[in-house]
């Protein structure tokens, strides 16, 4: 195995350039062959894709570092939106000025991070019992499914099952030619890219990031070399909570609506995005998220709304069978994890 096989590979700026080129090429193709309708679909697909991208990065972090498929991420996403709405609707946050929504969303993200830490307690800290058979790896996964049920149904009990409008004071659109860009959408896409970029930098350059990558490589060796794995595992969960929470906040602002089930669809699509791009590779998740977003809007455009699930999951199944390491995954890392 040469170097660090996954999470962040030292490719300098080739990946961002590749992604940007791909997007531009797609846009040119669409505008040449499909006309403005198709370009609009592409833009909204990329917007949606940037949400998937953030959630997929949250998934890939826990898989890359801890080899743990964290099924609570969709509920962390949902918690942010629902808690923010609940705080405003029940009148806990109602001061003058137009920033109440922002404070509410910040509280929502804080709740998501706390919930993520609670999950850490019960999926990693207290799991001492080892019985060493083939499905042992599934224990944290099963706990996270339990937490998914707990969080989702607690929200249903306390806040009801209807979807609600989340009022955001700005809703300005601007036009470039005959394309309509929503400012929240555009801002959230930029914000998503900045967040993912920051995370990527933290993992690559800082000491914490280096330690996390060591754990990803081999938890036992990291421990032997003096990396304090016990202290670092919560950091992974905090980052997961922040990413999922931010994605939830951006989704809420973008679509102006929250519901207890908003995480289910986004969460499963993000899983698809992560696998499509390659498990444990952050750039893989970014590319995968954008691809799934575009695939979704384009399949609605061409085949109608009912086709989305089949197109996305069919593509995913094909990837798993033909190229299990994903589009950008490294074969070595896939083999060691398989």
């Amino acid at each position: 195995m040469t170097g660090i096989p996954y999470l962040v590979r030292a490719r300098k700026f080739t990946m961002p350039v590749l992604v940007a080129t791909l997007i531009v090429a797609l846009a040119v193709c669409c505008s040449v062959f499909g006309g403005p309708g198709l370009v609009r679909q592409l833009v909204s697909g990329l917007m949606l894709g940037s949400i998937y991208m953030m959630v997929a990065v949250a998934f890939t972090l826990t898989i890359g570092v801890l080899n743990f498929l964290n099924f609570t991420i969709p509920t962390l996403f949902m918690l942010t939106g629902m808690v923010a709405w609940g705080l405003m609707a029940k009148g806990y946050i109602n001061f003058a000025g137009g920033w109440a929504w922002l404070v509410a969303l910040a509280c929502g993200i804080a709740v998501a991070v706390l919930a993520s830490l609670l999950v850490e307690r019960f999926t990693f800290r207290y799991l001492k019992v080892k019985h060493g058979d083939a499905i042992e790896h599934a224990i944290p996964l099963v706990s996270s499914l339990g937490f998914l049920l707990i969080f989702e149904h607690l929200v249903l009990i306390s806040l009801g099952s209807e979807s609600h409008r989340f009022f955001v004071p700005f809703k300005a659109d601007f036009h470039v030619g005959n394309l309509v860009f929503g400012i929240p959408q555009l801002a959230s896409s930029l914000f998503a890219i900045v967040t993912v970029g920051t995370l990527s930098f933290v993992l690559k350059k800082t000491n914490t990031g280096r330690a996390l990558r060591t754990i990803a490589d081999s938890a036992d060796t990291a421990l032997l070399l003096g990396v304090e794995t016990k202290k670092l595992v919560p950091i992974v969960f905090i980052l997961t909570g922040v990413m999922a929470g931010l994605a939830g906040a951006l989704f809420t602002v973008n679509y102006g609506e929250v519901s207890p089930f908003m995480g289910d669809n986004v969460g499963t699509k993000a899983i698809a995005a992560m696998v499509l791009g390659g498990l444990g590779s952050i750039w893989g998740s970014i590319v995968g998220g954008l691809i799934v977003g575009v695939l979704e809007t384009l399949s609605i455009y061409f085949f109608g709304g009912d086709s989305v699930q089949m197109v996305v999951w069919g593509a995913l199944l094909a990837i798993i069978i033909l190229r299990p390491q994903g589009l950008l995954g490294v074969a070595v890392s896939a083999r060691s994890r398989l």
């Binding site: 898989i63 080899n67 743990f68 498929l69 019960f122 999926t123 207290y126 799991l127 019992v129 019985h131 060493g132 058979d133 083939a134 499905i135 042992e136 790896h137 599934a138 224990i139 944290p140 996964l141 099963v142 706990s143 499914l145 339990g146 937490f147 998914l148 049920l149 707990i150 989702e152 149904h153 607690l154 249903l156 009990i157 499963t268 899983i271 698809a272 696998v275 498990l279 085949f303 009912d306 086709s307 989305v308 699930q309 089949m310 197109v311 996305v312 999951w313 069919g314 995913l316 199944l317 798993i320 069978i321 299990p324 896939a334 994890r337 398989l338």
Partner: protein
């Protein structure tokens, strides 16, 4: 038996068959999070044969079971190349893709669903569930069951002992697929109406949790897990969402305290009548 109790019992039997379909691969160390996909194949297969083909139930149910088994067999080869988290993801993707396919194609009614004319009575469902339970108990007592357990406990040693791991895994996955398909066929004939939205990822998840809660070491696990989570909430009259919160808490605590599941091999050994009798005798002889 009132209609309400009969309804609960029917759901219990269907879930039990489903759970055994998840248990058989799980006993050999494979987690299938795409159960709903296999159930959908069984349900739609039986429904289509019954409504369009106008076949009687003794044709539709075995045919649907075989179809799901065949799909399980075919999907087993690519899926079993994957392991661990990847296998969970691959089966999950399979379930979602099947539900998506059914939702999209007009051939099976799409989002509108499908009406299944032939109706199966409770007695028939119970007979199916009983037969499946006995079959799985028998299967786990054969050499196949022993080898499956060996693979689950330590694959490397099983290979060293000359076990054809791949063949056992494919067989377990195929049998599991067929059993889940059977549960789908029975579901279709009992509820007389099927729609793709029912076969979602939550269904796969619940049944997997029943099985892992009960424990995959012995065939008692799915029986106990399904009974506890299907019947107990009904008898306790626990309504709506609280039921799921309690379910979630129980699962989380179980994974923290006893991750091998409620019923383990050691427990069954300890409670077996033969062992109890032996202990009784030894106490008597020492006294």
């Amino acid at each position: 038996m009132s209609g309400y109790t009969a309804g609960i019992f029917a759901i219990f039997c269907i879930n039990l068959i489903f759970a055994y379909g998840i248990f058989v691969p799980a006993a050999s160390g494979q987690i299938n999070l795409g159960g709903a996909g296999f159930q959908a194949i069984g349900a739609y297969g039986a429904g289509w044969l019954s409504s369009v083909g106008a076949q009687p139930m003794w044709v539709t149910i075995p045919a649907a079971t075989l179809a799901a088994g065949l799909v399980g067999f075919l999907i087993a080869f690519p899926v079993l190349r994957t392991r661990g988290v990847y296998m969970v993801l691959a089966t999950f993707a399979f379930g979602e893709a099947i539900a998506g396919l059914l939702l999209w194609t007009q051939f099976f009614g799409g989002a509108i669903g499908m009406v299944v004319p032939a109706h199966i009575e409770l007695l028939g469902i119970a007979a199916c569930a009983l037969a499946v339970t006995l079959f799985v108990f028998y299967l786990m007592a054969t050499r196949f069951g022993m080898v499956a357990r060996a693979i689950n406990d330590d694959e490397a040693v099983a290979v060293l002992m000359g076990v054809n791991v791949r063949a056992v895994r494919v067989a377990a996955f195929t049998i599991g697929g067929a059993l889940v398909g059977l549960s789908g066929a029975v579901y279709a004939h009992n509820f007389s109406f099927i729609e793709a939205q029912y076969f979602n990822s939550f269904l796969s998840m619940y049944v997997l949790l029943y099985v892992l809660f009960g424990g995959v070491q012995t065939a008692w696990g799915p029986l106990v897990g399904t009974s506890i989570f299907t019947l107990l909430p009904e008898f306790m009259r626990m309504g709506g969402s609280w039921r799921y919160v309690v379910f979630g808490v129980v699962i989380v605590l179980m994974m923290a305290l006893r991750p091998q599941g409620l019923i383990t091999r050691a427990l069954v050994e300890k409670l077996s009548p033969r062992r109890l009798l032996a202990r009784q005798l030894s106490i008597e002889s020492s006294a």
